[in-house]
Homo-oligomer: 337 residues x 2
Amino acid sequence: MTTKKLGIQTAALANPPTLAAWANVVGKKEGEGPLRSTFDYIDTDDTFGEATWEKSESAMQKQALGLALNKAGQAASNLDWLFAGDLLNQCIGSSYAARGQQVPFLGLYGACSTMGEGLALASMTLDGGFGEWAGVVVSSHFCTAERQYRTPLEYGGQRTPTAQWTVTGSGAVILAREGEGPYITHVTVGKIVDKGITDTNNMGAAMAPAACDTIAAHFQDTGRKPSDYDLIVTGDLGTLGSELLLELLRRDGIQLSNHTDCGALIFDLKKQDVHCGGSGCGCCASVLTGHLLGGIKAGKWQTILFCPTGALHSPTSAFQGESVPGICHAIAISRKK
Amino acid sequence: MTTKKLGIQTAALANPPTLAAWANVVGKKEGEGPLRSTFDYIDTDDTFGEATWEKSESAMQKQALGLALNKAGQAASNLDWLFAGDLLNQCIGSSYAARGQQVPFLGLYGACSTMGEGLALASMTLDGGFGEWAGVVVSSHFCTAERQYRTPLEYGGQRTPTAQWTVTGSGAVILAREGEGPYITHVTVGKIVDKGITDTNNMGAAMAPAACDTIAAHFQDTGRKPSDYDLIVTGDLGTLGSELLLELLRRDGIQLSNHTDCGALIFDLKKQDVHCGGSGCGCCASVLTGHLLGGIKAGKWQTILFCPTGALHSPTSAFQGESVPGICHAIAISRKK
């Protein structure tokens, strides 16, 4: 068998898996934003009926997966593999959501890039001939992230101008080996890139070099160019990180005129007081599973390059003076094969 | 193409990838144990030359991967994919170890089962036709785990009789699409199983039901029986968890006479004061990459079923009264195809 690897970082899927169904679930603030009509469920108080924020996040993730499975007409037990991840210590958002579901489970940690990592692994697994159905689900919750990464909500900490707002949301995708599309045709898996940013309130700057690295690698590996995509969408660089990405790509000789960022799309940046935009695994996941895949299905776009970004640090690494390593995975999604 | 999925949870590798090279690095206490001659490097003070325990863990993981790559005669940049994980919040042991290495990175969180999850995904990826080389590296460190999961070392907390001792160690495996073996022939990916154990000092009891579930599924899916393996090796059930596993399997009609556990092998349970044995991602990883694969290479065993176990909880989930979900992945390793 010939290799299906292109260049250094890219897998070309010989029999591109279908995105058979998708769903998302978000919190109140996200439901008040410009993408409100693209969400399947908006919770009124972000608790999702649970007594702790961590349990709320698990409930949200379980609900997103359940809704996506319903749309695909499948039971969880029909999934060959479930890939899942979140931002919580030891990824408890995912493991408690999947507990009791009869499905082989593969836990991922890719920070806010996890939806990209999950789509990459799920599509390679199905294209590799292993089973018929795979699920990918990720989540983030503003209230679990604030107390874990920053300060408890009750503290009422001020936010710096470069800060972003962790999205309360979960997105789930059901992939099938055969189907009518949209399809995943290529995945470019990112390297860890660290340019020495130590300001943990400026994640956009920390992740932009990784996004630049992966997007440039994708074009290099595939021989494609920016205009081959209707839209090139990063995960959660926010407004400042997006500017940096475009500048870094320009220096590499790549001009993007079709770039947007899920973190800049999900909130009204003028009215919703989120500074540089949204962030968190749930940010690009809930934008993908509503606005983006909905737009492809409606014929608005034929091909997009979905590039979730992640910052692979922790409060401990920050306290120890470490800089913030970034990563970005690029997933080429096409309406036709 | 026909599916390479067997039953509910098992992937049968059509062209079994080779374990081309492996290496391990451990701490002082592990180096004083019965497996001392099977370790590639034993640190004298567990710092690995670094100023914080978290940086020590990253240095250890980087060293294990480097040693394995040297044995394989490969540079890190020749790896098509690197799968890595650890127990630290946001998996910083792995991301800082892989930072600056020119390799597509896929972060995993499977608690102490992560070596199993990594071998499963790496072997499916290579067998699926994606590239020629993949690396898997995982780690745990007693000092990072104690302060994160339990109490700072300075506190000098007493340990309960059912407690286990987190191994300071890292194991790395380099897989190749073609080679002379040993081979990974089957992987059985575990479901999350939670029987309601809430004692976080009794991980063996929390994980034994997951090990039972996966081992039974492996036999069901493949049609194999215990005697098809020279050795069935769980990850870190320890002595108590191992007893529970054998009892649970007996109730399912499965008798194991060839079972052992990495947590019971790595320390001298009579002399080293580790109560029920070793634990942590580094436990089964350092036993696999020394004692087990060394034994296969030497012809001591022809086939083993390597079954790393993990407890997918966190201190937060414990404080919130949650029970401990377990998982186990089974990897069939054979000297011949």
